[in-house]
């Protein structure tokens, strides 16, 4: 990764706009990482370009952190529509709320798992089945 | 009628008024043909698709009893009637539909003089009976109270207006050519040259309209599986579903017979061992109709399906023009004295 940007969560949107102006046009991946010992959830955006041949080989990693007890962040799906479903998925699995990209119901989890966040480290995988 | 003196039950069955509706082209042969054509369809498709198709039921005959086994399975599976349907329509609709689709066979003659209804407009009777069924189909689709059924029924309704006109026009083209609306006279007039060679435009228009009317590929629009599950028959199960499925094949059977009589020379030419009257020339009709049905089912393995708007457009733009051209051709043939 040639370029890693560590930013505060409230500047995410302006950073995204700057990157878009530079020629980065899509989000390849959005990763949420739970860090319970620090009380944080880290969000890692991998942003790259399709159209600009010079930027194609490069991926910008944008890292930001939100408070684990109040995980709210601005959605950048208006700047990069490509990360809309990734944001919804992160919301389902880690409980991060993306303001500006809200849907009433879970995207990939069943209704029963609403308000449980399987990708947080304190989630215990229920044992079931054979034996 | 028959030269041999037969005991009365047999001679009763051999009377055309009984034989035609009950045996051939009526119920008995119809049932056997349906079983056969479903098997043939599956086998032909399988061969084109480089696989075996039905194989295990009646193995020596290449799985020919598979449709029979499927039929038994259908009849003995649970008949589910969904709660919110219009029950009267839901149950009696398919039966009515089947009745209407089988009704046109009474107008089909097997040889000169061997016919259930001797009429000089038998062609019109058959065509009129053929086009009743889609109205019942719409009723069944509505009664199912299912969105997919409704869409399927409406699609069939749209298509109905696009295929009926070409069917009737191309039939009229042939009637003008033979100067008759009597199927017996039409078939006899083709003793020399078959209608398909006289007026290929009409034959093509009729064949394509027939594909739309019977929901064969590439016009399998009303039952498009990946789009609307099973179209108008989505909610049906068990014996009623089998009746619905049978309806579609029955229509094909009837249309193929009509095509044989009008375009393929009916019972002409007869091989030497068949007498020119009685019911045996019907064999010739059966053979030709089976060939037509075989061609119709073979198209399943070649074409994708059209969209409904494209189907309607083809009906109105192409087939309508084609059948009008067919009428012009007929008139030209008759007026120029080449024929008739």
């Amino acid at each position: 990764m040639e370029r890693v940007l560590r930013i505060a969560s409230d500047t995410l949107k302006s950073v995204a706009k700057e990157l878009a102006a530079e020629g980065f046009d899509h989000v390849k991946s959005l990763t949420g990482m739970d860090r319970p010992e620090e009380g944080l959830i880290e969000l890692v955006y991998h942003i790259s370009s399709y159209l600009n041949p010079a930027l194609r080989g490069r991926i910008v990693e944008v890292r930001t952190e939100v408070d684990r007890s109040r995980p709210i962040i601005n959605s950048i799906s208006d700047v990069f529509p490509s990360c809309r479903y990734m944001e919804l998925e992160t919301r389902d699995l880690l409980g991060v709320k993306f303001e500006g990209n809200e849907e009433p119901d879970p995207l990939i989890l069943p209704e029963e798992l609403k308000n449980t966040w399987p990708l947080r480290k304190d989630y215990k995988i229920p044992e079931e089945g054979v034996e | 009628m028959s030269a041999l003196v037969a005991p009365w039950p047999i001679s009763l069955i051999l009377e055309p008024e009984v034989f035609i509706p009950l045996v051939y082209p009526g119920l008995v042969v119809l049932t056997l043909t349906l079983l056969g054509i479903i098997w043939l369809e599956r086998k032909l498709t399988a061969k084109v698709q480089r696989r075996y198709g039905p194989l295990y039921v009646a193995r020596k005959l290449g799985g020919a009893a598979q449709p029979m086994a499927d039929g038994i399975k259908f009849v003995f599976s649970e008949q589910i009637i969904p709660r919110n349907t219009d029950k009267l329509v839901f149950i009696f609709g398919p039966l009515l539909l089947f009745t209407f689709s089988i009704l046109p066979v009474i107008g089909i003659p097997l040889s000169p003089g061997y016919t259930a209804i001797a009429s000089d407009i038998s062609l019109l009777i058959v065509v009129a009976l053929v086009v009743i069924a889609p109205i019942v189909l719409l009723m069944v689709a509505w009664g199912s109270n299912n969105k997919f059924s409704l869409i399927g029924g409406l699609r069939d309704g749209y298509l109905m207006i696009s295929y009926e006109v070409p069917i009737i026009l191309s039939i009229l083209a042939m009637a003008a050519l033979y100067n008759s609306l009597d199927l017996i006279e039409i078939a006899e007039a083709q003793a020399g040259t078959w209608g398909i060679f006289l007026n290929p435009l009409a034959a093509l228009a009729f064949f394509a309209a027939m594909l739309i009317a019977t929901g064969r590929f590439p016009f399998e629009i009303a039952e498009a599986e990946t789009e609307i599950v099973a179209g108008w028959t989505t909610e049906y199960s068990s014996a009623l579903y089998m009746s619905n499925m049978g309806t579609s094949y029955t229509r094909m059977y009837v249309m193929a017979h009509l095509f044989t009589l009008v375009f393929l020379g009916g019972w002409n030419p007869l091989p030497g061992f068949l007498p020119a009257s009685g019911l045996l020339p019907g064999l010739m009709i059966l053979v030709k109709s089976l060939a037509v049905m075989g061609l119709m089912v073979l198209l399943r393995s070649i074409y994708p399906r059209f969209r409904v708007d494209q189907g309607v457009r083809i009906g109105w733009h192409k087939l309508f023009t084609l059948s009008m051209a067919a009428i012009a051709l007929s008139v030209l043939l008759v007026a120029s004295g080449v024929w008739g």
Binding site: V130 | K47, V48, R50, R51, Y52, L55, Y303
Partner: protein, 176 residues
Amino acid sequence: MTKSRTLRHLRAIRTGVKHLLFSNRLTCPYPDARQMVSERYRGMIRLNMDKCTSCMLCARACPANAIKMYVMDGKKLPGLDYARCIFCGFCVDICPVKALEHTTLHDVAYLDYKENQFPPEKFAEGGKDPYYVPGGVVMVEIHDKKGLLYKKKAVEKEEKIVKEEIEHVSKEGTET
């Protein structure tokens, strides 16, 4: 796409009819004939109890926790649970003494969950082929025009013996 529509219709129909009349089938009539698989095939696994050194690496390597160690006569031996096994072959690869090996058998189903569990003795037998295949084993060959060809392998003596055995077993089975 300059060719006219009519021509393309005819070409499509011709291709269909060509296959209707002349093409070979790509499918193997499965329960009647069984296709032979390659040497590397990762089928059911057989344990060689004498070679096993009870190192337990196989149990550690298993991604699906399908291998459990059983104690037999004071020696720890692996047993396999086919309800969990995903046939990744990691246990076979990791075994330092090659006590585990793949067989080519793969199409075995069990009626009961319990039968899926292979304690060491059963594991040592490998999977047993419960059915006799009437068409025999067919060799699959790739042909550059026809695709897959299934060629019958000559029935060998062993297979005949197996057939008799299976018939014998099934007869006994019906009597009891």
